[in-house]
Amino acid sequence: MSRKLVIDPVTRIEGHGKVTVQLDENNRVTDARLHVVEFRGFEEFVHGHPFWEAPMLLQRICGICFVSHHLCGAKALDDIIGAGYASGVEMLPTPEKLRRLGHYGQQLQSHTTAYFYLIVPEMLFGMDAPPEKRNVLGLVEANPELVKRVVALRKWGQEVIKTVFGKRMHGIASVPGGVNKRLDARERDRLLKGEPGLLSVDQVIEHALEGVRLFHNFHEKHRREVDSFAKVPALNMSLVDEQGNVDYYHGRIRIVDGNRDTVAEFDYHDYLEHFAEATEEWSYMKFPYLRSLGREAGALRVGPLGRVNVTRSYGDNAPLAQAELERFHDYTGGKANDMILHTNWARAIEILHSAELIRELLEDPDLLEGPLVIEPGEAAWTGEGVGVVEAPRGTLLHHYRADAQGAITFANLVVATTQNNAVMNRTVRSVAEAYLGGRAEITEGMMNAIEVGIRAYDPCLSCATHAMGQMPLQVTVQDAEGRVLDERLR
């Protein structure tokens, strides 16, 4: 008799997901899907709101990568008032560095939460450990000292965010053309040197290294299982600087293939020419892909694994992370790594990388002085803006238009988790076939394997359901002679 296996809800991820697996009478997997079961609709109801409100409103899409949404919005607003990259204006050093500081703080906090609170339990207890055990409660019981360090690490990341944005979550710093506050020496020093109840940046780097070691220990014990768990080839995408190194705050979008050769690279303002999408009735999340390659070959992987596959190096300002990155690249002989569980390795490396980037920034005097905003004047107004950052889960994009009165007339958000939709579904399928296929007896632990595959992406389904997952694309309406009559969005 055919069966339908369901994971509802998928746990230890952000937001609402559900998995269904169809088995035929011979227990063959005929279908396996990740359903996104929530729908919110920010892009619709932000219409008519004052443009300067967008970054405050839209960061509410997500409780874990709100800084990324806030900064994407901020960059889009810079464009709108004519103080952005679209107008060829470079952001002032003080606001840019403050935004970067907050952004790295969030990456550290977000990855720490995902890695230690949600993913590490399996590393320590195994996939088929009791469901009641393989979680933070189990960690507390098994290794309270580790949990204390994790709590301290996450707290420090949150304090970096609070220092910049005024609040640990959904704060306010970015205004059109800059930010609204500098750091003072006291704020800077407590993050740098720590204080009772708060780590110093050096301790943070220590804890970050422990995270990497944790992966290696786990990897050495279970190398075959880890490496063969699920291999999902796909294109890899990230923002990169001129040297082709990942830049979490700003850069060009680069897409590489399995050989880490660039298949596409473009200015993110042109994103609409490069991305397309598909809809399925069984999910509120859409399926984007690289237009030129089509839905199958054009599926994209973003996030830690995508980024470490794309980046050439970390440059010379993060020696510890750089060393780990080289080890990571060597492991696959310079080819793109498509072993899903290695995403956690990449994530651990990025915790370390953010910590090192923060240390460098904290020593930068620009955080304490220098002008805060660019005021380009009314004449510079463009009324349209696009912002992109590398959010913890991958490339995040906000695109707004505002009318002459300043009311938002259009908003489009392309979030990382949505980009990963196709590869996540492939992962679910591949794990399901490996762990469930041909088995009469199915245990909860086997089903958890599917969740482990999903968790590797640390999907933020809250983000994914910001809208109904729409991605409007540019259409060109031509007349018989092929003259362009109308170019519009949506």
Partner: protein, 232 residues
Amino acid sequence: MSVNITIDGLAVRADAGDTLVDVAADNGVYIPTLCYQRGRPCLGTCRVCSVRVNGNVMAACTVPVADGMEVEVNDPADMRKALVELLFAEGNHNCPSCEKSGRCELQVVGYEVGMMVSRFPYRFPLRDRETRPKKIWLENDRCIFCQRCVEFVRDRETGRRIFSIDHRGSRSRIVMDVALADRMSDQQVREAAELCPVGCILQKGLGYNDPIGRRRFEVRRLRQRVLEGEGQ
């Protein structure tokens, strides 16, 4: 002529005819208000300063003190709270993304009366906003209809009203004369935005300039400002 009254049993001396809400403040008793501001004419629209005077509930901003008055402020506390809750349910008060957060009188009065949730059903009314004026944005979702702008903001030259009321009852809305609004000086626009107790009258483009922690009522609570005066 000075008179003797009691406020929650506390004996108080005051000048006959002084407004009760001011007399209370002068004697360290904070009574929240949303429409009334010391030194301006009484509007009597929000009723959030309701107290018991000789047994009857009255809006303290409308009461001139008279000899022998017995005032209870504590007793109708839940009524004041309920009125604030009514306002939160009636409009769309989206504090999370509102630029007036931390500077909003409705919000701080909500804290003062200890509101956690409104006991009234949230309505989510559909209200138009006025965005046409060059410098001002009218976000009617947040209007509490206090009438401050209607009464106190005038065209400097003609004395005509810039803000008016449209319709009546629950359909009442504040509307703005665009032509007159475009004649307002930046200073006058700033004053209008500050006059508005909520985030309804906005000065375009500079909503979030005050960082969290340095916003008006984070620097100094409304209660203090009322009890000790704005000056300090």
